[in-house]
């Protein structure tokens, strides 16, 4: 890890067209600023991986960044549908996307397997469901008991992007609050970027703090409020009103494009 970079430079350096990219954050600490930069830099043909696509991937799908989506829950939590995600799958707008879906337990274990450098993980899951026939899992037998369990393949991530509360000047990162699968995403990807609310001289360990050493990261970029409308516990609050308002914005293609143009494209890098 070298010194912090600008977000636009970090994205330009680390993410290429056609990459498999996970922007993670489970409800909390979703890296919106980084996703918006990907939209502004017009990345195409990405395989977008996230447990919960949320508004961020709704936006990226609607802006044509995605060729493929790997996920486990594609809703606007507590509000309803992700309309751009639906429009892409149901109507192929702006273009068709491929879908590979899993359960949360399956996705979490796929991240953990990637972080562990293993080709697969084992869990009790998927059995008896139609998911088994529509996704990439396999049945595996316990060599000790003979019991049948389910294997899921490790995620194969080119890049992971996560958001955290703070980094020190050596690029060591600390996040606290709901930790999701961020550590697994970063450790499971070939390249990684962490956006942070702020730089500090020294990380002061916090209750619930997860520290990711700078030497396993490729870049850190400062992006204040970079999780909005998601949040950074202790620094910003979840903008639940925006989550609700998004339903109407995203329902209509033109309203969506106008909103993205005004707030993301024209808004430049300084949201």
């Amino acid at each position: 890890m070298s010194a912090p970079k600008s977000l636009s430079e970090a994205i330009a350096d680390l993410v290429r067209d056609g990459d498999t990219v996970a922007l993670e954050g489970f409800t909390h600490l979703i890296p919106f600023a980084a996703g918006h930069e990907l939209i502004r830099q017009r990345r195409r043909d990405l395989t977008l991986v996230r447990m919960t696509p949320d508004l961020l991937y709704d936006q990226m799908i609607g802006m044509g960044c995605a060729r493929r989506l790997v996920f486990s829950y594609g809703g606007n939590p507590g509000v309803g549908s992700l309309h751009r995600f639906r429009d892409a799958i149901e109507n192929g707008w702006p273009h068709p996307i491929e879908v590979e879906e899993h359960s949360h337990a399956g996705m979490a274990n796929r991240f953990a397997a990637a972080a562990s450098g293993l080709p697969f993980a084992v869990l009790r899951g998927y059995r008896g469901t139609d998911l088994m026939r529509h996704t990439r899992v396999a049945t595996i037998e316990c060599p000790f008991t003979g019991e049948e369990l389910t294997a899921v393949p490790a995620l194969d991530l080119d890049v992971a992007v996560v958001h955290a509360q703070e980094a020190d000047r050596d690029g060591n990162v600390q996040l606290w609050g709901i930790p999701g699968v961020q550590k697994e995403a970063v450790l499971g990807a070939r390249r990684s970027l962490v956006t942070v609310e702020r730089l500090v001289d020294r990380l002061e360990p916090r209750p619930g703090g997860v520290i990711i050493p700078g030497w396993v990261l490729d870049a850190v970029a400062v992006a204040p409020s970079g999780a909005h409308p998601s949040y950074s516990l202790g620094i910003t609050e979840r903008d639940n009103d925006f989550y609700k308002a998004w339903d109407a914005i995203a329902r209509d293609r033109d309203a969506f494009l106008a909103w993205m143009e005004e707030h993301v494209i024209a808004g430049g890098g300084d949201r």
């Binding site: 949360h104 998927y126 059995r127 469901t129 699968v181 949040y231 979840r238 639940n240």
Partner: protein
Amino acid sequence: MSAPATAAEVQTIAAARLLREARSVFIGVGRPSTAAILARRLYNPELVLIYESGTIGAKPRHVPLSIGDGELAETADAVVAVPEMFNYWIGPGRIDVAFLGAAQIDRRGNLNSTVIGPYEAPKTRLPGAGGAPEIAASCGEVVVVIPHGRRSFVERLDFRTTVGFGDAPDDRARLGFRGRGPTAVVTDLCLLEPDPETKELTLTELHPQVSVEAVREATGWELRVAAEVRRTAAPEAEELEALRGLSAR
């Protein structure tokens, strides 16, 4: 005097009452979440609320919009990463009750939250599985909280996202599941419970002013009705007041 209870309020209160004795409950967003928070408030202050975001023992004062709102993390006894939540807490069957919703349910309590229409070209793309398949397999029991109607109570699911009782009474055992499966389905009309033998969902309790006929009418399969159908106790003033005080921020 406050307004009379709506059908949705009766549903939430009836669901909440099922948590009087539970030690721990796993909840998602929406009405199941409201019911569990209400239960903790009214009947069971020790009830441990667990969200798949990783918060164990959250104590929300309001109904959170998402399962990852800051208040859940701030009030939780412990907050764990998502892999730990599924591997160490849900998978081994550590949680007594799971409250789940769905878009469709069939007579054996199987759930669809994936697609309406064919999978490859869906008419409606739903959010997908989330944590439901493993939660329903592993938690001690499952309570499904779902609106009652012919679009949701269907003869045949468009997609089986989550197994209730599968296709036969012994399917859960055959699949190696730990939990007992759906022990109740709470709708805005009634409560259904699985027949002890066949595991087919059976009308056992009607909400106030609802008739068996109305439930039949709203059910997409030929409904089984228990020999004796109970009547849900009308919400107490205290229950209604508490529920209305929980509205989402």
